[in-house]
Symmetry: C2
Subunit: 395 residues, 2 copies
Amino acid sequence: MKVSRRDLLAGAAGAVAVGATARGQAPADPSKVRGKPPRATGQRASAEKVQRIVRGATSSGTPHQDLMGIITPSDLHFERHHGGVPDIDPAAYSLLIHGMVDRPTVFTLADLKRFPSVSRIHFLECSGNLGRTAGPKTTPGQLAGLTSTSEWTGVPLATLLTEVGAQASATWLLAEGTDAAVLTRSVPMSKALDDALIAYGQNGEPIRPEQGYPARLFLPGWEGNTSVKWLRRIEVSDKPFMTREETSKYTEPFANGTSRMFSFRMDARSLITYPAYPVTLEHGWVEINGIAWSGAGKIQRVDVSTDGGKTWSAARLQEPVLSLAHTRFRHLWNWTGGEAVIMSRAVDETGYVQPTRAALLEQRGPGTTGYHLNPITGWIVQASGAVIYKEEAWG
Amino acid sequence: MKVSRRDLLAGAAGAVAVGATARGQAPADPSKVRGKPPRATGQRASAEKVQRIVRGATSSGTPHQDLMGIITPSDLHFERHHGGVPDIDPAAYSLLIHGMVDRPTVFTLADLKRFPSVSRIHFLECSGNLGRTAGPKTTPGQLAGLTSTSEWTGVPLATLLTEVGAQASATWLLAEGTDAAVLTRSVPMSKALDDALIAYGQNGEPIRPEQGYPARLFLPGWEGNTSVKWLRRIEVSDKPFMTREETSKYTEPFANGTSRMFSFRMDARSLITYPAYPVTLEHGWVEINGIAWSGAGKIQRVDVSTDGGKTWSAARLQEPVLSLAHTRFRHLWNWTGGEAVIMSRAVDETGYVQPTRAALLEQRGPGTTGYHLNPITGWIVQASGAVIYKEEAWG
């Protein structure tokens, strides 16, 4: 709103007060009232209702439509568990590393924290991160809320494997959680020795309970449940363990008759978080923005289309672009009215291009599982300004 | 703790259970109990008591002794206010920009969010960030808790100044808050047009109330209170405004008889956060670690001494080193016993070297204020392993 010279003559404070009358509990002029004292821990503004999207008994998603930048607040990081969030006493916590090692060892939490540590900003994503209730009223958090980005701190698993004397002939390890599902996954030694962490910190503080408190495995760029939470045991071996979920769920048939047994790496994907349902747009300039990520490294480019995929433009990427982390992209668009289909497409540093839904389904075939689906998606801006989801619209 | 072959024969789960008996509420074996369901917002583990250090009615500090990495959780970001934390209805919020501009304008929060945005990870520091109760039992958070790092999102102030037509002859602006103190500061146009933001996001979510909700000025690298919170008015001018605090408090006398009127930039500083009071060390390898930052850009090097400043070694810096953000440094040290004085010294990309307390006090003279003091500090590891603070020990 523009103000006239007369408004200004009435005084700046007056001009502000005019705009600050009708409201709920907040005082009409907050500068006339002494504010609240400091607190030991802060709380969100009462007007902000940002929260996770709880889906049944085993998961909740990050509300990407409400977020900015790349860091996900820890209390909004997605959660996924097969037996609920266990209650673990950190003083009694221990991690056993045994099997093909020279010195089987039990590490307490204090032991783990004594080793040289590293901190890295990385995304985590559940392999089943494509919303199934994808009707018109799907939000970004419902569509792809099972990915979040945090700064993780911990000890490199390679350090611990050296400490216990992992044998040269070892090629796999088993990671086992202390949850009621006793989740177990097989992990190649090559990943364990590369960039795997035993993480105990998240965004500066101890990991939250639903993220694996007090310590978890963290495998950057790999499907979420290989980063076994509440980690209590690592067994070093020379073959994969073929655990329950690995055999029953996580082997993926393809259209050509082959199956992929360990689909560890999360392929590149992008998600427009604004505008999206439930936003209603006004005509004029709109900053389309969203997040992109790849389990193969850095995002190299994000293309945005505002005409249903006929033409594409490279979005601006927020620097610094970090490897294996969400990258915020932004693209200015002048919406002059009429229906428009907006879409985004990620390209990572390996040259991998996020596929269309049609190409992905053709490759995966009729027997496809719901895992590792990363199609190009978008939103329809209706002539009214209402923004909705419509799966068939993105090809 | 090492385990014997016999322990292992009893089974890994058994070995873990042995280590997991005596404790409070947590079940003896968490894997035998179904865990908690997902929640709309997470909470910290009940065993973790991390919280800010409340200092009287006007500030609270970040507990650096409990934190890792560089991101400060938003609810632990330091707070400092002169009139309490105001309660502002975001729907009634507005920002007036007037003075030497062609188009005086009132922006609503929705208006601000419509402009192209940026996100940047930056520290913020109060100019009075040197703890005064620096007895032996001083923690890192008490010594230097008035600095924190967040990912800030907002609109560049330069964009808004273009929008309102700031006049070419303008050289300063006034920023005014809606708090009960109506905090006002003068800011040079050069900074406003360089990297100043009107920020509405912090670590992915809306700014917290004590950080300026719903929108604040953010001046990267500058003393905290120039980043006026709860910003309601910007007046563009051709001279500084010489506001109450600027004339009464923030002009600093020097030993040579001169005074420095606007000490905007925060000089480089470092802080060892571990080991520090109240830790008690055991003999052996210790990862000394902490944070360093500079208002002049990137940290180039952090030197660590474990012999009271006689010799120094370059610490490892956690990559990526971000400009105007906390940088985590780490240095391995083998403590073989006896009293030791550990210290850290930051060097930034301009070549500026964090000064000793003696050099700083000599330069500032007997009439020094408590602002902009960034001396080298450290901790004394006593022969018992107890770690204490002792101001005189760092020279």
